[in-house]
């Protein structure tokens, strides 16, 4: 599984990245987490508000930091 966090470095983006890493670790999910901070690459996903969360190349959320349970649910749905 591939999880991407889209963000240029605002506090919410860093927040989301830590959150996702923690969730993946806690539930021992086999996932590769990538931080995408190049604007050109972020724009490819069609979002304008960061942070964006992409699971297996599918945008699941943008513009906010979702709740832990919600993130876990998306990850499970994508497995």
């Amino acid at each position: 599984m591939n999880i991407k966090i889209l963000g240029t470095g605002c506090s919410k983006c860093i927040n989301l990245e830590t959150k996702v890493k923690e969730i993946v670790k806690q539930n021992s999910i086999d996932a590769e987490i990538q931080k995408v901070s190049e604007l050109q690459d972020i724009m490819k996903y069609g979002i304008m508000s960061t942070p964006g969360l992409v699971i297996n190349e599918k945008v699941v959320s943008f513009g906010s930091v979702p709740k832990d349970a919600q993130i876990l649910q998306w990850i499970k749905e994508a497995m």
């Binding site: 240029t8 470095g9 605002c10 919410k12 983006c13 604007l39 050109q40 972020i42 724009m43 490819k44 996903y45 069609g46 979002i47 304008m48 508000s49 960061t50 599918k58 945008v59 699941v60 959320s61 943008f62 513009g63 709740k67 832990d68 349970a69």
Partner: protein, 349 residues
């Protein structure tokens, strides 16, 4: 631990609308009785002398801090709920195909309510340009979004009353519409970095999730947590400075160089304000001191808007997508707009 608590809580309270409905009367009662409580505390309990300056300074501080924080919490909560109805993506859709002027008005108004942080200014700029939204309309949005700020509205309302708050919102809108329109008329697309136009943004495959009322109320509480936890310290410091000046600086101290009869006071205020960077929470209590000590409304308003609306960090961020001539034009036009507002108010009031 905390999240567990909330989870349990949300099973308990099916309709979260009940929380604000219960809290609002409590808020109201507290707000109404705040002044008598504070006065009673300062004059009776502490037994302080009614006319001494130190008493007045302390009373001012003890009264203003909870008052402003309470107002802030309420407004940020309401704005948080309103904002959950908007997103940059929806705003972009609304602005697509709108001509200049109508587009400027819409973009400026949407700039007030659309969730925006200066860290997403660039993706937003790229997204707007990619959707074919004219440069001038995009700028109207980028000017209004930081300049008309809910924290500033609360503080102005709390410290000066609703008229000043209204003046701030309407002049802010005017500047955003005017500046964006001028930038649009000047046809400055040539000064946008060429790579901007080559970007191929992907299509967003995800449908924006439908939010129910519970989600929106959550959004309100999240906004309160995020914003109040960030700005409370500035508000307390600002009010402390205000309280100090309130008691000790002579009343006409500022009149000689920031009064309405000093013609250069407005450009000077803008010139000073542009390189300064502060959030609304920090600058407004300072503006309160200026006003109280004889600075004119127009000059103070111009100073405040220059500090909040035009900031060096944001212009540096914009350098990624704009060439210098456009950045200077942008700063110049917005500064001119702010000065017009300043002069106008010095003339009227």
């Amino acid at each position: 631990m905390f999240s567990k608590f909330i989870k349990k809580d949300s099973i308990f309270i099916k309709n979260k609308i009940l929380i604000p409905i219960i809290l609002l009367p409590v808020w109201l009662i507290l707000y109404i009785y705040l002044e008598p409580i504070v006065n009673g505390m300062v004059y009776n309990t502490f037994g302080m002398n009614k006319i001494s300056q130190i008493t007045e300074t302390i009373r001012f501080f003890i009264y203003e801090v909870p008052k402003v924080l309470m107002l802030l919490t309420l407004i940020v909560f309401v704005v948080g709920i309103i904002r959950s109805y908007f997103s940059p993506e929806k705003t972009r859709k609304a602005l697509e195909g709108k001509p200049l002027f109508v587009g400027n008005i819409m973009a400026s108004s949407l700039g007030i309510v659309t969730p925006f942080c200066s860290c997403s200014a660039i993706p937003l700029f790229l997204g707007f340009v990619e959707a074919g939204i004219p440069l001038g309309v995009t700028f109207s949005f980028l000017i209004a979004a930081p300049m008309i700020n809910e924290v500033a509205i609360v503080l102005l309302f709390g410290l000066f009353g609703w008229k000043t708050a209204l003046i701030y919102v309407s002049t802010g809108l005017f500047i955003a519409i005017f500046s964006g329109w001028v930038i649009g008329k000047l046809k400055l697309e040539k000064w946008v970095e060429p790579w901007v136009y080559e970007i191929k943004a992907g299509n967003l495959t995800m449908e924006e999730e439908k939010l129910n009322l519970n989600h929106r109320i959550d959004a309100g509480f999240t906004a309160v947590r995020e914003i109040v936890s960030k700005v409370w310290i500035y508000i307390i410091i600002g009010i402390a400075i205000g309280a100090g000046a309130h008691g000790y600086v002579p009343a006409e101290f500022m009149a000689s160089f920031m009064g309405k009869d000093v013609w250069y006071s407005v450009p000077l205020a803008v010139l000073l304000g542009v390189p300064m960077y502060s959030n609304a929470a920090g600058i407004i209590p300072i503006v309160q001191v200026l006003l109280e000590k004889g600075a004119s409304l127009g000059t103070s308003l111009a100073f405040m808007m220059a500090v909040i609306g035009l900031s060096l960090p944001e212009t540096i961020i914009l350098k990624k997508v704009l060439k210098y001539p456009l950045i200077f034009t942008f700063v110049g036009i917005v500064a001119t707009g702010i000065m017009i507002v300043g002069f106008l108010f010095n003339l009227i009031f």
